[in-house]
Symmetry: C2
Subunit: 338 residues, 2 copies
């Protein structure tokens, strides 16, 4: 039964006894169609089980009704990082409402990078969502030059020109550090993310400013930088303990790294939270299940996802629409590690 030729708009027109154009108008919800014609067309469509061919439509409208979500994954973090999954969820929810397809592009190496730009050049998508951008990543600029609507989750730097949505990283870090100080901690170290990312720098800045404002030390010896992986967190914790044996608290820039830090602390026999308090960032699933459960800064990741999607659809709909910069609030979730 699957062998039958798919009906085209012509078939429908013939069946309904009208012209191609009228069918097209009905499909696209134009008002300039008589009720009679509309009824005939709708009936024909139903009988023939007609579905418009979106490729043909795309050729003439030069719209594909699909957008790309680009996730650079050199660190192979999708998988361990629930962050990406949550973004995907949010994006998908927002897109579903607009009947836009989601093309997922995991970019691991240069070859895949080239493929991505080519695919974009082929105009297979109407716009691009970029997640986890690094400061000197050429991709955002490239997309901007091509004139393709682009929205970032995060930003390259504080003066990012492209539309973007991110959470209040500095503020979240400040809350975390204040919390630790309020619990009487004196020496608050930090494990930061890769410093070529604004997320990492902003969280570090929040840590530093809060400590300085409170009259505490916030020098570089209290900073170890990880790469947002568990192993990275472990190594950073090790070097911190060595560097600053007297530390009694650590603010870690992600839950996954914090989990690594916990492993190292346990290995070294330092009690959490008795001897060392730990606060993470993200409130990912791992935070609830680590040992002990992790105090952490929750960020509205799914909302970030749906918001970048919304903004992108807006820019696709109206290329002249102004660029938007959105900062979403974070929230401290206190558990047993602090």
């Amino acid at each position: 039964m699957g062998g039958r030729q798919r009906p085209t708009i012509k078939t429908v027109a013939a069946r309904a006894g009208v012209g191609r154009t009228t069918v097209s108008r009905v499909i696209n919800g134009s008002e300039l169609v008589s009720d009679k014609a509309r009824a005939a067309v709708l009936a024909a469509i139903a009988e023939l089980n007609y579905v418009p061919n979106s490729v043909a439509r795309g050729l003439v409208t030069s719209r594909t009704n699909s957008v790309a979500l680009v996730i650079p994954e050199s660190e192979s973090r999708l998988g361990s990082e629930p962050y990406f999954s949550a973004v995907i969820r949010g994006v998908s929810t927002a897109l579903a409402e607009t009947r836009t397809q989601l093309q997922l592009m995991l970019v691991r190496d240069q070859a895949e990078r080239d493929q991505l730009t080519e695919s974009v050049a082929e105009r297979r998508v109407d716009g691009v969502l970029l997640v986890s951008v690094h400061e000197h990543d050429p991709l955002p600029g490239l997309l901007e030059d091509m004139g393709l609507p682009t929205v970032l989750a995060g930003r390259r730097s504080p003066d990012e020109s492209l539309s973007h949505v991110h959470s209040d990283n500095a503020g979240g870090a400040a809350t975390a550090v204040s919390h630790l100080l309020a619990r009487g901690r004196r020496t608050v170290a930090t494990i930061s993310g890769p410093l070529d990312m604004d997320v990492a720098r902003s969280r570090l800045q929040g840590w530093r400013e809060t400590l300085e404002k409170a009259g505490h030390e916030a020098t570089d010896r209290l900073v170890a930088s990880g790469d947002f992986t568990e192993e990275g967190g472990e190594a950073a914790m090790r070097s911190l303990i060595e560097q600053v044996p007297e530390l009694d608290a650590v603010f870690v820039a992600s839950d996954v790294m914090a989990a690594g830090a916990l492993v190292e602390l346990r290995r070294q026999g330092r009690g959490v939270p008795d001897e060392v308090a730990v606060v993470g960032f993200d409130d990912s699933i791992i935070a609830r299940h680590s040992n002990p459960p992790l105090t952490t800064v929750r960020q509205p990741v799914e909302e970030i996802g749906s918001m970048i999607a919304h903004i992108l659809m807006e820019e696709i709909g109206d290329p002249e629409s102004p660029r938007r910069h959105v900062t979403l609030p974070t929230e401290l979730v206190v558990r047993e590690s602090s």
Copy 2:
């Protein structure tokens, strides 16, 4: 500079002083082109920065070079379930090699389901990958009827007709139960997944057969069924303890549910593994971080992903290719919960 009209194949032809067809041939790597013509075309392409329009190509070839990965998500499991992320990773890796785009479709409700079938009917994809199929899901049959190449991760039932890849669920469960028995456990209960899924039934069957073969009880009172969520695992554990207070081991059909079970056991003051041993399934990130770390059955999820993608590409390339049924081995990972 982005304002310039994109060059078409005609522009290139004119520039190179050849016909459209010759340009097309060069692009598609045909042998029937003289070296001279080929060189001229390639030069023109480079000068003009020409990229073929894939939509136009798709219209005539009726190929889109993209496939859909469908993830039903009524249980909102992407996010908590690293399983899906790993599948996505595997699929993406395999597709990258074939220059095929990946359309991600999260299907939460009926509306999104309809959108999916419509999108498929519009021929926006060359094939479909289906993850986490339930026994009476109409979708696989629908796709089969439409004649669209379809490959499943998992299967509807043991006599699945569509191509599919799954791990040795019964075998994995058997290994887990044998392990528990070897540790001297006598009353091995189980928390199964939703019984309208073959994964769940197979794991349950592995549990049952192993116990029976060893001469142990394997009756229904030892079975509680969850829904692959943490809360479900918690509730199931609660009912098991009530039903079978003397149990000294539980085989749980997923790590996420096992994490829930651990929470409940702790709440009830039952030591793990001293009083109750727990074994999960998946070896997801949560297994390493639960308290205590979880003994679990590892399944090669990423490999499942890349394999379904491979098989799908094969079926798209040759619709007559035989259906394939692949079972991948599992492996027990012993940690501290057993």
